[in-house]
Point group: C2
Chain length 252, copies 2
């Protein structure tokens, strides 16, 4: 991007800011996260469900790593909804699992939800020194990108991955974000270039592209094909969840 300094007041874009991708939480120590706005990405299904829940009026979503940690919130008051699942089933005694279909306005409006998500919580925890942490998914893609453009900060897209391993669905989403930002003067690193190139290969049919991945297969075995399809819908929502303390709330 070229700008005429005298005649322009920058209103958006990178202008030399960094747009980087952290391919798994295990690589986060390589980054000075305090210099970035971090976007946490866990497409199947934590960050998709979070975006949908906040869009539908949830007051807050509290991500925790373990089922026991989630259960401990029961004692803090009945106003909490508790979401925990193992092997595709809602854990006995909990209100619902991790399916985005549980996060409808009817169920979550005005409520605070405690959500068990191992990979997502791990990524959030390791990013805690960032300038700001927001949540991304295909559901809020364009809304998120439009906001990112206004910040003029370095951006680090953190793929939650699977047990610290690289996965394709989170990387592809990072590539989709880069697709919307890359002409705004950001400096990309190699992982960002790779993520965007992989997005080019998959963008015409993301579900088909991901069908060949290990994680997709694992999720299909859990019988949650409908969740997968739901999570791959682009721009269904506008809300941007942001971390305040230990709670994800709507960015205003």
């Amino acid at each position: 991007m070229t700008t005429d300094i005298k005649n322009s007041i920058p209103t958006s874009g990178g202008r030399g800011a960094m747009l980087n991708v952290c391919l798994t939480p295990a690589l986060l120590p390589l980054y000075h996260v305090e210099e970035y706005i971090v976007v946490v990405i866990d497409i199947f299904r934590a960050t998709s469900s979070i975006c949908y829940g906040i869009e539908n009026g949830a007051e807050a979503i509290i991500p925790v790593a373990e089922v026991a940690e989630c259960a401990a919130y029961r004692e803090k008051g009945l106003s909490y909804l508790l979401a925990a699942e193992r092997n595709g089933e809602v854990v006995a005694g909990f209100d619902f699992g991790n399916s985005p279909f549980s996060y409808t306005a009817k169920k979550v409006a005005g409520k605070t939800i405690v959500l068990t998500t191992t990979n997502g919580t791990h990524a959030l925890h390791l990013s805690r020194m960032a300038k700001k942490i927001v949540i991304g998914s295909f559901l809020n893609l364009t809304s998120l990108c439009n906001w990112l453009k206004t910040t003029q900060h370095n951006i680090l897209l953190v793929c939650a991955g699977w047990q610290n391993n690289f996965n394709l669905e989170d990387t592809l989403f990072a590539g989709a974000v880069i697709e919307q930002l890359k002409n705004d003067g950001y400096t990309l690193d190699d992982p960002a270039i790779a993520a965007n190139d992989l997005f080019q290969l998959g963008k015409n049919d993301i579900n088909l592209y991901l069908a060949k991945t290990s994680h997709g297969e694992r999720l299909r075995k859990l019988g949650i094909e409908k969740d997968i399809e739901f999570c791959l819908q682009v721009d269904l929502t506008k809300a941007i969840p942001v971390l305040e303390g230990d709670r994800l709330v709507k960015l205003v």
Copy 2:
């Protein structure tokens, strides 16, 4: 791959063995390296120079991480050639740098070379529990792949990267190896699928594809474009360097 058990004696291929890619040494703790044959990849320029040197009759190449460690070999005898460079220049008092053009038969035949390579040595060290460690580069691509097919073991392609970060050139080479092995019944993980897909994008002109990367730019600034071109030549050599103790020698 389908095989008729009664009528076939398997002679090559994966048949369910794993073909995985470790995108940076920082992710090696996620793998049980002792279950794999490891291929160490550091395209610009350590593993390319090693392949060329072993092809040209070097008796052995000893990879070390630091210039001081390399210098210490001087006291062990004049038969060692010492290779060390910083910022594209041969360090004073050393025999040559890391350019593959230094590894001609005239210079290295019958000699043992001590090579300073930070990223490559790091990857080798972290892989030391593997069943076997061999060295890959575009120079020995097909020879390496043909040998890998005969082993019927799990294969882990370890990208040395840049200071524990992902880089595109090492990943693209991993994708080139997968291209030659993927129809032999191996099970790929997500990083392997991604590496092979990136290779599809770059294979028609790898140099052009890599021109956009951060590392390529860094190397161009060092004035080693000719080294880069050299390292991207496919199948110039046949030798496969293998680690024995702390020495890389020719696999026989």
